[in-house]
């Protein structure tokens, strides 16, 4: 099933057919990641499609997606592997008491008693996969150090078993919201990709791709409003995902036009803080009512 991308253009096309409009640099970095076999560190504000990129890559390349969600306190037992104590214990109990120590020891530290967690699964998979390590900045620094071996050598050392080498080369994406500085050692092993909010033209394409039935002029105005909202000083600026949600909502409501009244009713889809709501209503809502937006083309 899995197919490699032959060139940058091919990568871009494949991603597009998987429903992801990748910018030039995104396609280039994805292509490089596959060619060089290096992990990609994707950074950018929340909701610009970092996680979505991994999903699209998995669809486009026909590779299964394995996802590791990071959080504070994540450790090897949950990310790499763990011994299945209960099964080992049962095995020991079942074993006749006259069996030698060496036999039992060799036996219970076999692959049969190993519970493999996402990282180990990803590298021991027969066919190449896409490994997504999401929000790496949420995990502790110690965890980062542990990742180094996996990411640079694609192998995992298990003291009792030896080294498990990768059978296939996974495509690895790490995402970070920049809530803390990652270590140099990790950065050095990765290609770096910065995803930012797209410009109006591209965002319009994205919205149209995900809500194709929405009328052109409504979509255009929607994107314009979202851009204007992003320029305000908000706690949480609306992401691409939220503009898509909004587009779908407008479609459901059968909106013919984006006006002040409609914005007021549906604003909560793109703005998620109370204080932000007031600010948007005050700044953007007024302009919409006065018909100041939409008179000139977006872009």
């Amino acid at each position: 099933m899995s197919a490699d991308f032959g060139s940058i253009e091919e990568t871009q096309k494949a991603l597009e057919s998987a429903g992801y409009l990748a910018g030039d640099s995104t396609a280039l970095v994805c292509f490089l990641a596959q060619e060089l076999g290096k992990p990609v560190l994707v950074e950018g504000p929340a909701g610009v499609g970092k996680t979505e990129l991994a999903k699209a890559l998995s669809r486009a390349g026909g590779r299964p997606l394995i996802r590791l969600q990071c959080y504070e306190g994540l450790d090897e037992a949950k990310a790499l592997y763990e011994w299945n104590y209960r099964k080992q214990l049962l095995r020991i109990q079942v074993e006749a008491s006259d069996a030698g120590w060496q036999e039992v020891k060799d036996d219970i530290f076999g692959e049969e008693f190993l519970l493999s967690r996402p990282l180990l699964t990803a590298i021991s998979e027969e066919q190449p996969v896409v490994l997504l390590i999401d929000e790496i900045d949420k995990a502790d620094q110690e965890f980062e150090a542990m990742l180094l071996e996996v990411l640079s050598e694609f192998q995992v050392s298990i003291p009792e078993l030896g080294v498990v080498k990768a059978r296939s080369h996974p495509l690895v994406l790490l995402t970070s919201n920049n809530s803390r500085e990652l270590t140099e050692a990790l950065k050095r092993r990765c290609l770096y990709l910065w995803l930012d909010y797209p410009d109006a033209g591209r965002e319009l394409e994205i919205v149209r791709l995900h809500a194709p039935d929405l009328q052109e002029h409504v979509a255009r105005k929607l994107v314009e409003v979202v851009h204007m909202v992003r320029d305000l000083d908000l706690k949480k600026p609306p992401s691409i995902a939220e503009s898509i949600d909004w587009a779908r909502a407008l479609l459901l409501l059968g909106a013919e036009d984006v006006d002040g009244e409609l914005l007021k009713r549906t604003m909560s889809i793109i703005v998620k803080h109370r204080t932000d709501l007031d600010l948007v209503a005050e700044r953007v809502g007024v302009k919409l009512t006065d018909g100041l937006i939409g008179s000139r083309p977006a872009g």
């Binding site: 940058i8 030039d24 640099s25 280039l28 970095v29 292509f31 490089l32 060619e35 060089l36 290096k38 560190l41 950074e43 450790d75 104590y85 209960r86 214990l89 109990q93 809530s179 803390r180 140099e184 950065k187 050095r188 990765c190 290609l191 770096y192 990709l193 910065w194 305000l232 000083d233 706690k235 109370r274 204080t275 007031d278 600010l279 872009g299």
Partner: protein, 450 residues
């Protein structure tokens, strides 16, 4: 090509980017996979492998342009290529300045890319006396701009006068003019000007006050986590925690009564109580917007926070922050009617401590953290360091953030020296970056007192 790339890497290192051998190897590897003819791809491939943060990318972009421009010029110089001749012949000596002016304005206003480079060359030729420039390129660029009567928009989106053009485009045009002038200079003198390091201003990412506020909020969110976990840095996993016997027994039922996994009582994160004092006198006017935004962000993250502003006397503004959510309203309220009891307008730190101690004496305990934002300039009044030491002794931790560069500390009426021994840390703090350093120092457990 390889030596060129190494030179580029050298230059990047001089600008403070950490480009290691492994990054360079990656870059070469990556360049094998992309076509070299396309400048965009070439540059992106380098960016993906060499730059590891957004700031790095920005530096790379700037250095990349400058570097390859210089390399090309050096090559041209070495081979004796010249294009100056064509430049002078253009327009048969006389160029209509008015017409040129119009053309440039239209191109700058239009959406299309236009051939800015050609126009720049024409502009230089038109302003004449190519060889007799002032010798300083920056001055020449401004001279040409004035001759052409080009003016940038006053504000983005605001259309001023008929002669103004979008600011961004104008800057782009100036860049072209500058470049052409440089080229002419190189051709004339036959040597390259010495390379200059990037200016701090150019290198900084474009930000606005709104983004600054957002950045402060982000750092303060980090601060909250650090304060909450401080003292637990070495907790490792399960170290110094208490076994929960009940849960361990329950757990062991699954393994036939053998307690294989220990269960621990969850450690309760400490609830920090913050007392923040913020100087809002005239001597820190420039910093006080920054300080207020720090305060504002703190109020967003901490529930147990009491904030005070002071000039000569102290007044509590916790309520103002809780009532007003937007930053603009808060600063207006504090500037206007929050009633900083202010007689002379001069800070009196000694008096502030006395009043502070009186007001919060009973609430200070070892769990509380006191943060002072101020320049410690008492205008020659009694600093009452003794009283401050009482405050510091009652509170668990005391930090001081000074908006002045360290160089100016203890000069004039600055008495930070008197307070420093009682603080757990004294920090220079007037940018987001320094605020971040403060947070990092907290995390590393650097404590001046112990």
């Amino acid at each position: 090509m390889a030596p060129r790339l190494l030179e580029l890497a050298d230059e990047l290192r001089r600008e403070g980017m950490a480009v290691g051998t492994s990054e360079l190897l990656d870059a070469f590897e990556a360049l094998r996979a992309v076509s070299w003819a396309d400048q965009g791809e070439f540059q992106e491939a380098l960016a993906a492998t060499l730059a590891k943060s957004q700031e790095d990318r920005r530096v790379l972009e700037l250095v990349f342009d400058r570097f390859f421009y210089r390399v090309a010029e050096r090559e041209a110089g070495a081979r004796g290529l010249k294009e100056g001749a064509t430049l002078r012949g253009e327009g048969n000596g006389q160029i209509d300045l008015e017409e040129l002016r119009g053309r440039i304005r239209d191109t700058l206003r239009g959406e299309s890319e236009g051939d800015l480079r050609d126009l720049a060359r024409l502009a230089i030729a038109a302003s004449g006396r190519l060889g007799e420039g002032s010798g300083v390129i920056g001055v020449d660029v401004q001279r040409i701009r004035r001759t052409l009567g080009l003016k940038g928009d006053a504000m983005a989106g605001e259309r001023a006068g008929p002669h103004s053009v979008p600011r961004e485009r104008l800057r782009e045009f100036e860049g072209h003019v500058r470049r052409e002038l440089e080229r002419a200079l190189i051709e004339r003198t036959g040597s390259l000007p010495p390379a200059r390091p990037l200016r701090e201003l150019d290198r900084a990412l474009p930000t606005g006050p709104a983004q600054d506020l957002a950045a402060v909020h982000r750092v303060v969110a980090q601060l909250r986590r650090r304060l909450a976990t401080q003292g637990h840095e070495h907790r490792g996993r399960h170290r110094s925690s208490v076994v929960d016997v009940r849960r361990t027994m329950r757990q062991s039922l699954g393994t036939g009564g053998v307690p294989l996994e220990l269960r621990f009582r969850p450690t309760r994160p400490r609830r920090p109580e913050l007392f923040v004092l913020c100087d809002v006198s005239t001597s820190v006017t420039s910093a006080s917007v920054f300080f207020l935004s720090v305060l504002h962000a703190l109020h967003d993250s901490f529930r147990k926070l009491r904030s005070f502003v002071f000039v000569e006397r102290i007044s509590e503004v916790t309520e103002v922050f809780e009532r007003e959510r937007s930053f603009g309203d808060v600063s207006r309220a504090i500037a206007g009617d929050a009633g900083v009891a202010d007689v002379s307008g001069y800070t009196d730190y000694g008096r502030v401590w006395l009043e502070f101690l009186e007001q919060v004496m009973d609430d200070l305990d070892p769990r509380s953290t006191v943060i002072v934002l101020g320049d410690a300039r008492t205008n020659g009044r009694e600093p009452h360091a003794k009283v401050f030491s009482h405050v510091a002794a009652r509170a668990g931790r005391t930090f001081w953030m000074n908006p002045e560069p360290r160089l100016y500390w203890n000069y004039g009426d600055s008495v930070i020296q008197a307070y420093e021994p009682f603080c757990d840390g004294v920090f220079e703090c007037w940018t987001v970056k320094q605020l971040e350093e403060f947070v990092r120092a907290l995390a590393e457990g650097k404590r001046a007192g112990t």
